[in-house]
Each structure stands twice: as structure tokens, then as C-alpha cells.
Amino acid sequence: GLRLASTTARLKTEAEVDTSENEVVAPNFTNRNPRNLEQMALARKERGWKTTWPKREFWHRLRLERTQHYVEAFVERSNGDVVVSASTREWAIKRHLYSPKGVAACKNLGRVMAQRCLEAGINFVNFKAIIPWERHCDSIQEFEKAMQEGGVVLREPRRIYR
């Protein structure tokens, strides 16, 4: 009788002691995640650079480089760090293509790049770093269409100021 009461009382206090300290919460919370502010659209975009081109007002920028031999796509931050990249130089992509340059290569690179961006959690990308008269090229149009069909939005949301 007495023993049972003591064991049940102890079990109850154990469970209570277990979670009783949970309620104590610090008033200020710091989130160390570097991607947190940009995913909440509260991070700063570099707003200067208005007299030069390309501008740096973005969180992630999609840059397509077409050389004589290869096509490469990079998603980078405004300070230049590459986050996700895909290129026809990689063996995984090169073995399925007849030529690592050209419209077909750009299209498939777009599909692969869209998949990698979504896996990395990058859903909004700035695609303004293309030269205006090159934007109407077949290869760049196919790349853009492939990225949009892959699920990446080529327009970054506006920063929340208030």
C-alpha cells in the first residue's frame, strides 16, 4: 500500500520533472541558419551597383555560360560563391549527349539544373544576367523553358520592407 503510493508518486514526479523545465524559454531567439532570412524574404539584397551591369540585387543568380566546347550553368550568391552548378563537362551528363554544346545540350542541362536546384531548396532564382539580344537565342530560350518546366521560378520575390 505505502510502497505502491510511493512508486506511483515517484513516477509522476519523474515525468513532471522530465518536462517541467521545458517551459523555460529565453526571450530572445537567434536563428543561425544563413538561408533563413532569404527564404523568409527578409534578407538584404545588394542594392547599389545601379550604374553597372549586371546588377547584384538578388539572393541567388542563375548564370549560363556557353563556350565553344561546353555549356555550364551556375547558381551563385551576390558575393560570388557558387551554390549549385551543372555543366556538360561532367561525365554524368556528357555520356548521354551527342555534343556537349548546342541547343539540345542547353535543354538537357536546364532539366538537370532544375532538378538540382529543387533538391538544394533553391526555388527562386534571378535570371537577369543574360545579354538582351542573346535572350532570344534558341539555346537560351530552351534552357529557360526547361528550368521553368522543372519547377524553378526565374523571378525572385520582392524583399519585405515593413
Binding site: 538561408r35 527564404q39 554524368a92 549527349l97 551527342y98
Partner: protein, 356 residues
């Protein structure tokens, strides 16, 4: 005062190598694209004078590698094999026609499988570095995740939510333990760890341990010893996105984790407070990090039920507080400033008088 004293420059001046006397011999750009590519390449080079890039980015410290050493396969055979495949591709008329008519569609699953074997680990390491995983968990020491870790959260309607490097998963999808699979030799022992470095409600430097399974033989998670049972993610409302990181360690032999054993079930946040750096330093000689997968998680209505039922506490709600706007030190006679200049330095709140 610094610029009054003339001295020799500390490095070569830009365009010093261009011979101004003989300009016709120089190669012209002839197209804007070529100029832009060259300009971008030059802007990325490190300079001896102080640049905006150097001012904003702190200099990179030398990274210590704590991962498994790279297995060097015979490179010559691999190159020969690849060249053979490329030659076959070039001789294939169907591929040539498909490329010409732009109907080629690469099998994305095969590309992904090949990528996981070849350049996947490097890409994952790069994304993890930019998400601050190494900085927060290992204080700067990096590793390349050679073992491809496949993590799936299965839902009720047979739907699978995969976890890649930086995915977005909701807490309601992550309420039950996921299915983890990876390639492992028979007889090897592994440790799986799920931490949340961002969610700690009391101390900003420590993490919350959500799942710890040790001494896993091969790739069978159920056979491993569960030191800490699975707790669904609980990012508090208003705090934004939290990272939840899966770490796979390869053990050199059976390790005794009795110090890290938590009571089953453990719903005390104090017991769940964890530091991966200390944990890894304790077992540094017996295990090495081999796999990495992480996802981003935001508040969801299932988090409320986790707080109320499992953790038995009131749910904390946070609000984003903007840092105060910066104003330069106040000057007695400001030049070209409107009347609201005084309002910027006043302690009390004055009503605004329009545009003045």
C-alpha cells in the same frame, strides 16, 4: 594623410602589360559577350588593393578534412572506358539526328545515379558549406560525404517525401521516423544522427538531438541500438526556417555510447540539448563522418500538437524584430538635411509633420 605620401604601388597596376604605343597589334574583342566573360573573370581574381569583396567576405581559414579518405580507382582504365563510350556516341547516327532535331531527352534518374558516384559528394559539400552546416556543427572542419544517404519520409497515401541537401519538408510530413538507406559493406558499423542546430529555445550555440541510432550493422536501421528515440521536428512559430541535419558516421569498431544514452522516451528539452562538436570529439578516434543529408523546416499546425502533447509545455511564439536603422553620428550643423534629421536622434516619438 596617407595619400599625401607618395610611394611605389604594392603590386602591378591594372593594364600595365598593355603596350599603349602599339595599339593596332592588340587583339580586339569584336563582340560584347567576349568582353563580358573576360570582365567577369577579371572581377573574380584576387587583387592586392582592398576590394569590396575582401571587405564583405572574411578570409577563408584553412579547412581541416575529417572525412573518409578518397578511394583512388585506376584512372587510366576509367578514362579509356569513357573515351570509348564517347566515340560510340559520335558514331551513333540516331543520337546525331536527335541532337540535330533537338529531341534529345536525357534519362534524369541515370544522370542522378552517375552524379551521386562522381561529383555528387563535392556538390553536397559545397551546398552544406553555404548553409553553414560545417560552421555550426563542426566549427569549420569539413568532410566530403562519400556515402550517398537516401532518406524518405513516407506518408499515409503511399507518397514519399525525399530529403536531399536543403529540401523543404513540413513537420507534419516528418512526424514519423523516415526510411534511411545507403550502400554498406557487410560487417561494417554505422551511426545515424539527426540534429537541429537552429531550434534551441534557451541557448543559441547548442542543438537539439532528435534521433540517435548507433552500431547499425550494414544498412539495417532497425537492427541498430536506438540511443535516443525519434522526436518530430518542432520549429517554433515566427522563427522561420530551421535546418535538420542527418549525419552518418562510419564506425571502425563497436563503440560504447552509454554516456550518450537518453531515457526512453525522452521529452525533456534539457536532456535533448546536444553539441555535435563535443560528441564527435569524444568518439573521434572510432568513427568518421561519411554521409550527409539535410532539410529545411518551417512552423506547421502539427508543431502545436507536438509542443502540447509530447513536450507538455505551452507553445512559444516569436516575432521578427528588425535591427534599428543605422544613422551616422549626429552633427551640430548638418548639411542639406531636412527638419526630420532631428527626429532621427530623438529618444521620444514625435508625430511626423509630413515631408519636413
Amino acid at each position: 594623410a596617407v595619400l599625401w605620401k607618395r610611394a611605389a604601388p604594392l603590386g602591378p597596376m591594372p593594364n600595365e602589360d598593355v603596350d599603349v604605343k602599339n595599339l593596332e597589334v592588340l587583339e580586339r574583342y569584336r563582340s560584347f559577350t567576349r568582353y563580358l566573360r573576360q570582365a567577369e573573370r577579371e572581377s573574380r581574381k584576387p587583387r592586392w588593393w582592398n576590394t569590396y569583396h575582401r571587405h564583405t567576405n572574411p578570409p577563408a581559414e584553412p579547412q581541416t578534412d575529417i572525412g573518409l579518405p578518397r578511394e583512388q580507382l585506376s584512372r587510366a582504365k576509367e578514362i579509356k572506358e569513357r573515351k570509348r563510350i564517347l566515340r560510340e556516341n559520335h558514331q551513333n547516327a540516331e543520337m546525331e539526328r536527335a541532337a540535330r532535331l533537338r529531341t534529345v531527352l536525357i534519362p534524369l534518374d541515370e544522370v542522378r545515379a552517375e552524379w551521386e558516384k562522381t561529383s555528387g559528394p563535392f556538390h553536397k559539400q559545397r551546398v552544406a558549406k553555404h548553409c553553414g552546416v560545417f560552421r555550426d556543427l563542426f566549427k569549420g572542419a569539413t568532410f566530403t560525404p562519400w556515402v550517398a544517404l537516401r532518406v524518405h519520409y513516407s506518408q499515409e497515401d503511399e507518397h514519399l517525401v525525399p530529403v536531399y541537401y536543403g529540401n523543404m519538408v513540413t513537420p507534419s510530413e516528418a512526424s514519423s521516423p523516415p526510411e534511411v538507406s545507403y550502400e554498406a559493406d557487410k560487417g561494417s558499423l554505422w551511426t545515424l544522427l539527426l540534429t537541429n542546430p537552429d531550434g534551441h529555445l534557451r541557448d543559441a550555440d547548442s542543438e537539439y538531438l532528435h534521433w540517435l541510432v548507433t552500431n547499425i550493422p550494414g544498412s539495417d536501421i532497425k537492427a541498430g541500438k536506438e540511443m535516443c528515440h525519434y522526436l518530430p521536428p518542432f520549429p517554433a512559430m515566427g522563427t522561420g526556417y530551421h535546418r535538420f541535419i542527418f549525419l552518418l558516421f562510419k564506425q571502425h569498431g563497436p563503440i560504447d555510447f552509454s554516456q550518450d544514452a537518453r531515457p526512453m522516451p525522452c521529452y525533456s528539452l534539457k536532456m535533448r540539448t546536444f553539441n555535435t562538436f563535443d560528441f564527435y570529439r569524444k568518439h573521434k578516434d572510432a568513427m568518421t563522418p561519411a554521409g550527409l543529408a539535410f532539410f529545411q523546416c518551417q512552423w506547421d499546425s502539427s508543431v502545436t500538437s507536438t509542443f502540447h502533447q509530447l513536450l507538455n509545455m505551452r507553445e512559444p511564439v516569436f516575432e521578427f524584430v528588425r535591427p534599428p536603422p543605422y544613422h551616422p553620428p549626429q552633427v551640430k550643423f548638418p548639411r542639406h538635411q531636412p527638419l526630420r534629421y532631428l527626429d532621427r536622434y530623438r529618444d521620444t516619438e514625435e508625430p511626423t509633420y509630413g515631408i519636413y
